[in-house]
């Protein structure tokens, strides 16, 4: 199932084993390949937060994000060939510049669609339209780099 990042932010975070609310989703972070959601920044409402690996996410529902305290297994299609792909990096997609690999700025990211089970990014929603996830080359502090639109 595909999920929109903006629908996940502010959801309650519920521990699968205790059924307790452990906080709310403050933000989702992506790995440096830009192709996977890597971690969840969980706010406990007390001016502090902690970061969960996306593999700990059991389910994303309309009202809560359910997590497991165990780390889970790596996703089969997770790209671990890129430095930092398996780390909880602090790279945020929302607001990031979108830059084509031929040097053209094509807006900024307003939302990210991704597969709930794997965290794989399927599309970026930008101020200039939709960018297919297959076009993503990398995500850095300056921009998300994408292949030019050949259509």
């Amino acid at each position: 199932m595909t999920v929109a990042m903006t629908d996940v932010v502010d959801l309650d975070v519920v521990d699968e084993e205790t059924a307790a609310n452990v906080g709310t989703v403050k933000a989702l972070w992506a790995d440096r390949s830009g192709r996977h959601i890597s971690s969840v920044d969980v706010s406990d409402g007390l001016m502090s937060s902690r970061v969960l690996n996306w593999r700990q996410v059991v389910a994303v529902g309309p009202d809560a994000l359910v997590t497991s305290s165990s780390g889970g297994e790596p996703n089969d299609d997770e790209d671990t060939s890129v430095d930092g792909a398996d780390e909880a990096t602090s790279l945020s997609y929302i607001g990031a510049n979108v830059l084509t690999s031929d040097g053209v700025l094509v807006g900024s990211v307003t939302d990210v669609h991704f597969e709930e089970s794997s965290g794989a990014v399927t599309a970026l929603m930008t101020t200039e339209g939709r960018v297919d996830g297959q076009r993503i080359r990398s995500l850095g502090s300056f921009a998300v780099v994408v292949d030019p639109d050949v259509e």
Partner: protein
Amino acid sequence: MMDSKTPLRLVKAMDVSGLPVVTVDGGEDVAEIKDVVFDGASHRLIGFTLNKRGWFRGRLKSLLGAGDIQAIGPDAVMVSTEADLTEPDSAHPAMTGDEPLVTIDGTRVLAGDGTELGSVCGVVLSTGSPPAAVGYEVDTGDGAVFVPISAELAISDDNLLLPAAAKDFIVDDLTGFGAAVADFRAKLEQGASA
């Protein structure tokens, strides 16, 4: 390889200064273009000197050779990876000042029939991989025109003399110059194969 009749995407070299240098593999701005290094004798783009990015920007020791550029766009110069920046000891000697360059700015430009067009005021680059110098911007005193670069250009301390064949490919807008360069090259190829 690009067909010689395909219009080129062009940019004035002076407009590249100040652009960030961004890595395709990381999305990081690793440098900023400072100056263009261009050899007027061979009409060839050598590369660029660089500045650091950020608040404490200053000259960066690393350099960027033309052959290491993936693309020049209106918003960024793209390199595959940060390793594409070159250290001074392995850079082209012209980029470190160890080899003198012929400066072409201000050189008088003559058409093949001896008519003075004006003086060189800029270089036009193609934005492909690697980018290359494809033309000169000429200040006519009443605006600017663009003339294509070819092996038939003759240069001295006094003049840049255009070949007669270039006459029909001088245009006064950069947008149309890409097609003019492609047409000029196609004409030269036809002449070479005839």
